[in-house]
């Protein structure tokens, strides 16, 4: 059933990356050997057509490879997939092959990596608060400079290139969009970075970029209407969803193995109905998530935005993975909270996927809008007092008004 993981023969298994996963997590960085293996496997090329330097795999093959890599090492998966799939797609979609092939090809060959510079320190997914701005450099050769700070960005501490969301400093008569993507070379003066230590996905580089008038060639500033960008972002939701499915599958597999091996009170855990119930529920839920994920990836890969479907998937799969890794910790008992144990890592990793890209509740808002409920309407929380339901200590003998002053 192709909503189960494929057999090992047909899917790259990343054995080296898998064997190093615990150490990679403990050290908090991706070893060079992982990148070598990624390059050799052809993983980075899967998502793009031959003319861009890719191998143009079909959606199911992409899915299998993504899940296999994420199962081997979720931190490595995030880093590689943000670069090759998400940033690669943003460049291919909003840039042009003519102008930006030289940016895209090194991402697919693995010579370089990219990050998607979107979030800023002041707020999460609310773009209205973003301040990073691109303006003409004023230098003789033309071009632009970019200034601002991006934070909590995958690959920011190590990437060569940032696909950066920025405001455009529009001169008079410029009727273009307010926003642009700036493809910023991070190997230049005017770029500072920092790392942000994080609970899970420890191997994944994560942190901030401080851009102090870093230079951007004219061709690498692509004006984009903000709404048009949202389709590009769904690649991020999708890659995170598949990370979650892989982490859940890994935790479930470990749970089955532990249940078969572990004896308590004279019986292997596998013989206990309570354990069976946890395994079966996880299996059914994960199957459902995987069917939805394959469908979403197929639709997305065929060019449909599939926004609603991918949003549903992101919310469900990431929260489910937290639940399944929690069950795995419970089945493993003290082993599951011992550092260095696979399940302890999955538990920390799983929560990162809920937060990563758009967080669940932000996505739920968008899903509701997609259901025809209209955009979110915020109203100050001041509508309780007139109803008589605020600040009224109540007494059976009518002390209401007397006590009210105190409240």
């Amino acid at each position: 059933m192709n909503d189960r993981p494929r057999s090992e023969e047909s899917t790259p298994a990343f054995p080296g990356i898998a064997s190093r996963a615990a150490a990679t997590d403990a050290e908090g960085r991706i070893p060079a050997a992982n990148w070598d293996e990624l390059i050799d496997s052809g993983y980075l090329r899967l998502f793009h057509p031959a003319e861009a330097g890719g191998s143009g795999a079909d959606a199911d093959a992409q899915f299998d490879a993504m899940e296999a890599l994420a199962r081997a090492c979720s931190g490595t998966y995030w880093s590689a997939t943000v670069s090759a799939l998400l940033c690669g797609s943003l460049i291919a979609t909003y840039g042009s092959l003519r102008d930006h092939e030289q940016l895209l090809r090194p991402l697919l060959s693995g010579e370089r990596t990219a990050c998607f510079g979107i979030v800023e320190p002041t707020a999460g997914s609310d773009a209205s608060t973003y301040r990073t701005t691109v303006r003409p450099s004023g230098r003789p050769g033309g071009g632009y400079v970019i200034r601002g700070e991006k934070s909590r960005i995958t690959n920011a501490p190590t990437a060569d290139l940032s696909v950066t969301l920025a405001r455009r400093d529009k001169g008079p008569g410029d009727n273009g969009p307010d926003w642009c993507l700036a493809f910023v070379n991070l190997r230049q003066p005017g770029v500072q970075r920092y790392e942000t230590p994080h609970m899970g996905l420890r191997a994944m580089p994560w942190g901030g970029l401080v851009l102090s008038d870093a230079y951007v060639p004219e061709a690498d500033v692509v004006p984009v209407p903000f709404q048009a960008l949202s389709d590009g972002m769904t690649w991020g939701w999708l890659l995170v969803s598949i990370a979650a499915i892989a982490t859940a599958e890994a935790a479930l597999t470990a749970s089955v193995r532990h249940a078969q091996a572990r004896v308590s009170f004279g019986r292997a855990l596998a013989h206990m109905e309570g354990v069976q119930a946890q395994l079966a529920d996880s299996r059914a839920q994960l199957d459902a998530a995987r069917v939805l994920a394959r469908r979403a990836l197929r639709e997305r890969a065929s060019g449909s935005p599939a926004r609603q479907l991918i949003g549903m998937l992101k919310v469900y799969a990431t929260e489910l993975a937290v639940e399944i890794t929690q069950r795995a910790v419970q089945i493993h008992g003290a082993f599951g909270v011992t550092q260095g144990h696979e399940v302890e890592r999955h538990y920390r990793d799983a929560q990162m996927n809920v937060i990563g890209a758009f967080a669940s509740n932000r996505l739920r808002e968008q899903l509701a809008e997609g259901l025809g409920l209209g955009p979110a309407v915020y109203q100050p929380f001041d509508w309780l007092a007139p109803t008589g339901l605020r600040h009224h200590p109540v007494s059976l003998d009518g002390g209401t008004r007397a006590v009210q002053a105190v409240a």
Binding site: E273, A277, W383, P386, H391, V394, D397
Partner: protein, 395 residues
Amino acid sequence: MVLAQPELRTDPEAATGLGAGPLERSRELAGRLAWPTTAERDRDRSWDPALFAELARAEPGPSLAGPLVPASLGGGGSTAAEGLALLEGLAEGSRDPGLALAVAVHAVLATVPLRAHGTPRQRERYLPRMASGEWFGALSLRQTHGGAVAPAVTARPAPAGQGGWLLTGRLDLVAGAPVAHHFLVVAAHQGGGRTTFLVDRATPGLLVTEGGPAAMHTCPWGHLLLDGAHVDDGSVLGTVEGAAAEVEPLLAVLDWVYCSAPWLGVMRALARDALEAARGRELFGRPLTHDQATRFALADLATQVELAEGLLRRTASRLDDGGALPLQDAAAARLFVADAADRVTRAAAGLTGPLAGTGDGLAERAHRDALFLSRTGGGAQVLRPVVAASMLGLG
């Protein structure tokens, strides 16, 4: 239909120090008088006035019709905690959430606002007859969570000379309507302020019709149609335009606490039924009690009952201790009890109903009625903001 009498459990009050008594007595009484006809009354959606009269006049112990009415006015003079226990026992013994709701509305929700905000004249006129069960008091469960929903009844001053007020509007979900002597009605004035009125059934311009929700069939339900119904100044309960500070928050607390109370009894009965059902079934050639997943479900069910009991009783007893209960504590308790009732009814129904077609059908009735519980008192959409407001300093 041959059914075993509900098995009695040692009174939990004895353990919690509330003093033995009201819960056990009311449970015994309800088991004897009400339970034999519960399934039938539910099926026929019928109300048995004789049964209510018997419950109201039962001796000894606090009256079920007016436990919170002072003894000097003919009531039970019970504490708030005892009142809670009476409703728990009533529901546990009768296995009838609808009957217990009707009693809670009459004996607490319609009564306490008179005790708290009534004039001496109002208290003397209504409370003794309500406490004896002679007069049934009713109100709409749409009006027990303040002005969260737009007021359905308006009040305008009666023409000069006549005095008093003219009330116009419709109310549904009126628990007790078909048998009530009078109604508590909150009406909005043109300026937006709200006043509570005592509206006698005989008021000209008031039409009472039957009909109710798809749940709680043993509670007598009806609608009120007020078409310029004239009430005099003496029918104002509390201050004119004072409902938002007087009767409304009180009604909210009373609904959240006392309409939840029966569910402690219902949950205990369901927990017992679920245990019995598990003991009686075999699957895969083994007793179901050997199935670990079933054992876990029963353990969680018992835990929910214990948690809900503890929180709700603690909340009610604060009305005795300090005399004033913050609204948000009552809302938190209702939020918890409604959720626990939902969990417990589903878990119990998973073990006992709806395949059997045997027993008195409590699993199915409770599964249906727990949904009603979760939607009344404003439901989570009202309760959560009330709780959150106090945490956040907003609202």
